[in-house]
Each structure stands twice: as structure tokens, then as C-alpha cells.
Symmetry: C2
Subunit: 147 residues, 2 copies
């Protein structure tokens, strides 16, 4: 199973909890081992910073007892927001794979384009549009049902 | 005592723990009550997202059982980085007061200038340079001693 499929599973679990369905997976690129997987949990935690990427980074850093994950890649179903893009940089993630593009809230290919700023001190390799339609479909369905 | 003085006390406590000395305070603007106060705790928590502002926001949101703090103001000793600037926006903080400016890593008046992006959906009122010299002095001293 593709790592983005696993991120999608995390997004589905988030939807089932009433959270915006976004999921993330962190993989040790040297072994292929999944170090952390998470969905959005902002509502459950009353924490506006508890996006899937930040939760996965926190869990992976705890597991490896380090604030940096230079051997790790992160897979996430939606283009990271500016907060998450910055957290990914701070964590020294090697590669970022994301699913759907997010023109309204993204911080990688839209808006702040954080990795292109002089204030960005680590830029991961970025691959967007992975399983794009499945990743955007789960979000579209969630917000349609909300209305 | 000024709220920025209290943020400075949190920065001093962070330095004593070996963390980069930055402190933050969140105040309910309707009552003046301090809702949360925190220093950087990235090293202790192995969490690259555990900047003073994010920790204070998490604690305040927990306390008020909400992901949003529209009646609250945040005081922080250094210009927020791009991650924290975005988290402050997500939390719907009313006013942001910061101490020293941060040309190398700031995301408010430098770099991503997040609050000026179309992908920013809430912009706090921003007041920079509060107790600026004390706020930058504590950082300068910390990094000098590190060398």
C-alpha cells in the first residue's frame, strides 16, 4: 500500500471523528518504516495547531527523541498550510509529498510560499498532486455533508 | 507589572532550562486576566512546534475549551516566526504585541509576512517593538554564552 493511501485512511478516520479530513504519515526513508501517522485533531484537542502534519511531527519527534527528522519523509493529503509548511521545515523533513493543492490556505505553492522565503532555513524536496483526486474528493464530500 | 514584563520572565525561565529565551503571555482583554503564560519548550518536549506562542495558545485553548480566542491578546518577546504567526491567526487572537524584531526568522514584518497574504483569513492588530531592547538583550546574552 502506498504511503499516501495510508494518509488517506487517516483522513477518513478524522472525518469519522468530525474533524476536517486531512491525514499525514511520516516515514523513515532509510528503512521504509512508518514512524507516525495522524489525522487532524484540532476539535478534539481544542488545539488550532493540531493539524495532521504537526501532530505527526510531534509524535515522530517524541518517538525518536529529537526535534529533527532529517531522514524522514512526510506524506499529507492536502498542501500544507503556512503553519505546517514552517513546522515541516523546522523538523528538517527530507521530502514532502502532498495530495490536493490548496489555493485558499496553502503555504507551499500558494500564499506565503514559505520555502521560497529568505527566512526559511531548510527547504524539503516537494512533490505535489499525489493521488490528487482522491485527496480532494474526501474533503469535497466532507464539506458538502456539512452544509 | 506590564504583560511584556511577564513574557520576559517566561523567557528568563526558558533560558534557565537551556531553551532559546522567548516568552509569551495570553490575556483576556475583557478582564485583564492572564489565561496562559509559557516559554519555549522545544528541547524539553522534543517538539519543534513547541515555541512559546504555540504552547501558550494550546494552554489557553484547553483552558477555555475552544480552538478560538477572539477576546484574547498575545504578548511575545520576539516577532513570531511564520509558524507562530499562522497559529495566532488560526486562534483568532485579537491583538499581537511583540518585543524584538526578527529579520532572520520573523513571519510578521519579515519573510512570509503572513498577515498580508490572501491565504490569511484573520489578521490580528499588530504592535511591534514593545520593550524591544530588553527582549533582544536576553536573546543576545543567551547566544553569546552558547558560543
Amino acid at each position: 500500500m502506498n504511503y499516501m493511501d495510508i494518509a488517506l485512511k487517516e483522513a477518513e478516520k478524522a472525518a469519522a471523528r468530525g474533524e476536517v479530513p486531512i491525514g499525514a504519515v511520516i516515514v523513515d526513508s532509510t528503512t521504509g518504516e512508518i514512524i507516525a501517522r495522524a489525522g487532524n485533531q484540532s476539535e478534539a484537542d481544542h488545539d488550532p495547531s493540531a493539524h495532521a502534519e504537526v501532530v505527526a511531527i510531534r509524535n515522530a519527534c517524541q518517538k525518536l527523541s529529537s526535534t529533527r527528522l532529517p531522514q524522514c519523509d512526510l506524506y499529507v493529503t492536502l498542501e500544507p498550510c503556512t503553519m505546517c509548511a514552517t513546522a515541516i521545515s523546522f523538523a528538517r523533513i527530507r521530502r514532502l509529498y502532498f495530495g490536493a493543492y490548496d489555493p485558499k490556505g496553502g503555504g507551499v505553492d500558494h500564499g506565503a510560499r514559505f520555502y521560497e522565503q529568505a527566512t526559511c532555513h531548510h527547504k524539503p524536496d516537494v512533490y505535489g498532486g499525489i493521488l490528487e483526486s482522491a485527496c480532494s474528493e474526501i474533503l469535497r464530500r466532507f464539506f458538502q455533508e456539512k452544509r
